[in-house]
């Protein structure tokens, strides 16, 4: 039986696990698929949006820078177009022109100069003293001579400060001359520098040689890539923007970049940002989604386990109740047949026993007469007759117990106080003074009177107490009798700390004639009588017992319907 329970438990545990797994599979697969798809779509559109935004920004900045350069060039071209070329060789005119430009555009134009075809600066307006400066060897000059106008790369030059030059070449009196202006690097640098996003997003400009054309912040080190790298590694998108990703060699960080060509492809504007930061919102969303999914999944698993556990519990409880009911039905059936048998035979047995007892009595009567008083074995005969009498009484006891099964109704049904009966029974049992055994009673004083037979309830309690005393034996112990009011029943618990009933016997203890007591000590009817009485009253009797710990009988007698 215990084995059965263990296998049942294992089965139900396996069942729970399988069911939980199936439900998890069925519910999780669509959930994960949908979540994955949504997240994927979200990532894609986030990606697109982010890149579209960055592209737009880069494009705008590239345009801004280009137009800045073009405007400065146009300023110079306009200046040349709007005045006599010869005037410009006059330094004061040049000074005035510079003043006009600076008034209009601020510090953008640092100086102006006119250079002849030999590379000598013939006139100059500006803070530095660069009159007659020799540019013939300067690289920018060589390049500028080849073109009608020219914008140089950033270089240190004579002033040892980063700057770049815009020059326009014209012909005067058959000879070339050049209007040159130094552009304030700070003003230009600002155009790229203000392109900053977050902590790691910044922009810079490179020339074809890979030299920086803008100043960089100390904490912003661009990945060391050359101009061409950005173009060849990137993917070309709308507006001539290149998009790509690279890994920083120094710290292994993933970086995204966008690059736009400037100044007729001489320069390149690069915007770069750590991928982690650029996509931080997306990553956070992914993490949140993941956490929600995980918590949801965890909740589902917990709920499912809990629910299945409950269902299994209910099922096994129902099973147990059914099993108990079956057992009680069988028990009742057994008792009924024993009752019928008893009723049928008790009369037949009682009559011959009665005759035997009376005949013995008659012999006793006769022995008292004088003629027998001298008999040699008189005493022995008297003892034998007494023995016949005693054994006759024993037979009577057994048949009467048997007959008590056959009772259909109890004539003595009356209103009885369970607590009072408990008190009386405990009183009787105490008087018998079993050594080392204490009997305690704990009575619920709210118990109302119930309909029943005083003697029958006494009989139940006496039987159980006698059994408990036997179970405790000589070693001593205690018996607790507790009464309690339940919803539909009055509960009487008789509990001992005796030797307990082996599991194998627990199913049989209510069977008539089942006994573990020595021959002649018990007739095996006590508990089946108790069972019969309780059943007739519409009550229940249950046993819970553990070897060497004790036994508990729960008797539930129905309350009066109010």
């Amino acid at each position: 039986m215990a084995q059965d329970r263990i296998t049942n438990k294992l089965h139900s545990r396996k069942f729970t696990r399988n069911m939980v797994l199936i439900v998890i599979l069925v519910s999780f697969i669509p959930m994960l698929l949908v979540s994955g798809m949504v997240l994927h779509q979200f990532s894609n559109s986030y990606n697109e949006k982010l890149y579209a935004h960055l592209k737009e920004m880069i494009h705008r900045h590239a345009q801004d820078i280009d137009s800045f350069l073009n405007e400065r060039l146009h300023n110079l071209q306009f200046m040349l177009d709007s005045c006599d070329n010869v005037d410009l060789f006059n330094e004061s005119v040049l000074q005035e022109k510079l003043f006009q430009l600076q008034q209009k555009y601020g510090d953008v134009f640092e100086d102006l100069g006119i250079i002849n075809e030999k590379g000598v600066q013939e006139s100059y307006a500006g803070r530095l003293k660069l009159e007659n400066a020799q540019y013939s060897k300067a690289k920018w000059f060589e390049d500028a001579l080849k073109k009608p106008f020219y914008i140089s790369d950033v270089f240190l030059g004579l002033r040892s400060k980063p700057h770049f030059i815009i020059s326009v070449k014209r012909v005067y009196q058959g000879k070339y001359f050049m209007l040159r202006s130094t552009i304030n690097f700070e003003a230009f640098n600002f155009l790229a520098e203000n392109l900053r996003i977050g902590n790691t997003g910044f922009a810079f400009i490179l020339n074809r040689e890979g030299n920086f054309q803008t100043k960089l912040h100390d904490d912003m080190l661009p990945s060391k890539k050359s101009y061409m790298d950005f173009i060849s590694a990137g993917k070309k998108a709308k507006h001539g923007i290149y998009i790509g990703e690279l890994t920083d060699d120094s710290d292994g960080k993933h970086i995204i970049y966008l690059a736009a060509l400037l100044k007729n492809n001489d320069w390149i504007l690069v915007y770069q940002q750590e991928k982690k930061e650029a996509f931080s919102d997306l990553i956070r969303t992914q993490i949140i989604a993941g956490v929600i999914l995980f918590i949801g999944a965890l909740l589902i698993v917990i709920m499912l386990s809990f629910l299945f556990h409950q269902i299994i519990k209910h099922l096994s409880e129902a099973d147990r109740e059914k099993e108990m009911m079956n057992r009680q039905i069988i028990e009742t059936g057994k008792l009924a047949s024993v009752g019928r048998l008893a009723a049928g035979t008790a009369h037949e047995i009682n009559n011959p026993v009665a005759i035997m007892v009376q005949e013995a009595g008659w012999i006793e009567d006769l022995l008292k007469k004088e003629e027998f008083q001298e008999g040699e074995n008189l005493q022995e005969i008297e003892r034998a007759l007494k023995q016949i009498n005693t054994q006759g009484k024993r037979c009577k006891e057994i048949t009467h117990k048997l007959l008590s099964f056959a009772r259909k109704t109890d004539t003595q049904i009356q209103s009885v106080q369970v607590n009072k009966i408990v008190e009386e029974v405990v009183g009787i049992s105490d008087k018998k003074s079993y050594t080392g055994i204490t009997i305690n009673s704990y009575k619920d004083q709210t118990i109302p009177p119930i309909a029943g037979s005083q003697t029958e309830i006494q009989q139940i309690l006496l039987n159980l107490i006698n059994n408990a005393i036997d179970a405790i034996g000589k070693k001593g112990g205690k018996i607790d009798i507790t009464t309690r009011l339940e919803e539909r029943f009055v509960l009487i618990v008789v509990e001992d700390d005796g030797s307990g009933i082996p599991q194998a016997n627990q199913d049989r203890i209510f069977d008539p004639f089942f006994t573990t007591k020595a021959v002649g000590k018990g007739n095996g009817l006590g508990l089946s009588i108790c069972f019969g009485i309780v059943k007739r009253m519409g009550g229940e009797i249950d046993v819970h017992s553990t070897i060497d710990i004790g036994t508990r009988f729960d008797i539930r007698l129905p309350r009066n319907k109010t």
Partner: protein, 129 residues
């Protein structure tokens, strides 16, 4: 049918009704020995016949007999001669029959096998009441 009426003292007249012949006989011997005037009958019918002739003081009646149910006999006894007390002495004890017996006017109820002294005491009590 045994009769025992030849003593000077006014004896208590007992009627035994039981189909268990050996039981009736031994009881007859023991009761006669204790100076009762005992009449034995072995069926309900015989018992009724006997009562027609003699006004018994006490009847000792079995409940389960072949010809008639003891309860029926009791009813007839009580109708014929209500002054006679009836003690039910039976091996077929059940609360139902006990209840019925008492209801129809039986004086007492003793189950077989009975203690002889108890029976005597019950008879004497029936007489004195």
């Amino acid at each position: 049918m045994h009769e025992n009426e030849n003593t000077n003292k006014k004896k208590i007249k007992l009627l035994l009704v039981d189909d268990e012949k050996h039981f009736v006989e031994v009881l007859y011997k023991r009761l006669s020995d204790r100076d009762f005037s005992v009449t034995t009958t072995f069926s309900g019918e015989e018992g009724i016949q006997a009562l027609r002739k003699v006004d018994f003081d006490v009847a000792i009646l079995d409940l389960k007999m072949k010809d008639m149910d003891g309860i029926e006999v009791l009813k007839i006894f009580k109708k014929m001669y209500p002054k006679m007390e009836v003690i039910i002495l039976t091996g077929h004890e059940s609360e139902q029959t006990v209840g019925e017996g008492m209801e129809y006017g039986a004086f007492a109820y003793i189950s077989k096998p009975c203690d002889f002294e108890e029976l005597i005491a019950t008879i004497e009590k029936a007489i004195s009441d």
